[in-house]
Amino acid sequence: MTAERVAGSYRDRKGYVFTSGDRILRSVVGGAIGVQRELIESKVFKQLVSSGRLIGTGIARDDPATLGLKDPTLLLEHERVRFISYPYEWPFAALRAAALLHLDVHLELLDHGYTLSDASAYNIQFRGHEPVFIDVLSIERYVDGTYWNGHRQFCDQFLSPLLLSAKLGVPYNATYRGRLEGISSTELARMLPLRHKLSLQTLLHIVLPARLESAARRGRVDARGVAARRPLPRSSLRNMLTGLKRWIGRLSPPSRHTDWTSYATNNTYRDAERAAKSDFVARAVRAAMPRTVLDLGCNTGDYAAVALGAGAGSVIGAEADAATADLAFRRAQKENLRFLPIVQDAANPSPSQGWREAERLSFTERAGADFLMALAVGHHLAIGRNIPLDEMVRWMVGLAPRGVIEFVRKTDATVRKMLSLREDIFADYTEDRFRDLLAANARIVDCRTVSEEGRALFQYDRRE
């Protein structure tokens, strides 16, 4: 089987990642071969892998020529992460968990004579709610006195987005998605009010670097000369990392109340209706036993928990409201659920972007779910966002071969409220039309009305 290079793996000249069928392989070239061989045999590497902090990696025995590789190369094979997510999709608690893992892995490596060559947030992925470091090629031998080259990248890709949210109450996801490389700490320094600038850590990691950069630009100070003259002791680097770890561990988003954060406890369902809905979802999941469920409009994860309880392997949640996705992530951590809620607007999902528009793949390309749950979300698209009903049904059914979609009638209190201040231009938004459209795209396996106001659940299967 031939190798297909992963489009986003082009920055590091020491090697790159490629796929061969279902396998994830990495070609390592040049001087890095010796370091990687030594690293894989090391105690620290085994400790990091066994504790789940580093992706499982071994030396592949394939003949590079059969994969179309010409240069002398070391082939590594990595454990596959089922769903690739990006930092601009992570809620606050997920980005914080990823930052803490990055620092933790760096500190442990440092104690064993290794360091990290960069600090890209894209080097972290999630298995359920648990972060894992995936870029073994960025692990290098530590040379005493060297500086942390990834500091600025760490600040832009982890620290500044977290501070933007924690100190200013602004969700970072849309800005991060637009820029891909995070939130510039130079720009954050301009946004922060004086009272936030006066903390030692903010001065050290945000304000001072921005100011010193300006000074260097004016020729007042020579950065290369400073680095050459004054080695950074390992203890200072360690203190820097532990200081960051302590500080980031204490950061939290301002408590924000949105319409969605309280939805799970404040909605139009009665207990019996909620039980009927859970029962329908659980039965559909048990029948399909999916490896990956996509929970569209997951809210705080009530039905993700139901799906996992019914035997689903893992759940990816898509939630447009960043504060609610954060609550869902913290719930996944607290209840140890194999559930990763991400910030994702169904009417504007993450596009393919970056270099050649392929560096970061679109949400739809990555989702790869076996089962869809689209519960109480369709009316927000069809009525809230004017998405044509036929397009919405086709798109939803295209997300997974099997699933459950909820239809909410216009008689429902939520829809009535949505239409109370606007003209009802949705004459074709009826349950009969929804049923016909679903039947045109898939087989309707089961259907049940679960609320007095007329919320109905449809189980579909489009495999035949």
Binding site: Y147, W148, N149, H151, R152, C155, D156, T186, E187, R190, L203, L204, H205, V207, L208, P209, A210, R211, L212, E213, S214, A215, A216, R217, R218, R220, V221, A223, R224, V226, A227, R230, P231, L232, P233, S235, S236, L237, M240
Partner: protein, 76 residues
């Protein structure tokens, strides 16, 4: 070293625009240079203080070691 610290204080007070064409790591490298300078100062102060303590007449004498071989050595 004092020049670097003075410059750091100076640039903290000064306000200036940012340009993206410069190596994005320059500010980070300079901050780490500042930390390296602090490490040197702190090591200097520690060394100086231990020398001063050594000269003080009322400095604490080292506690007798629990290791019998050391006690033997002190007797000889």
């Amino acid at each position: 070293m004092p020049r670097l610290i003075a410059l750091t204080i100076l640039v903290c007070l000064a306000s200036s625009p940012a340009y993206a064409y410069l190596d994005p790591g320059t500010g980070s490298i300079l901050v780490q240079g500042f930390l390296a300078a602090l490490a040197v100062i702190s090591a200097g102060i520690t060394a100086f203080w231990s020398r001063i303590r050594h000269l003080l007449p009322w400095r604490q004498s080292p506690k007798p070691s629990a290791d019998p071989s050391d006690q033997d050595a002190s007797r000889s």
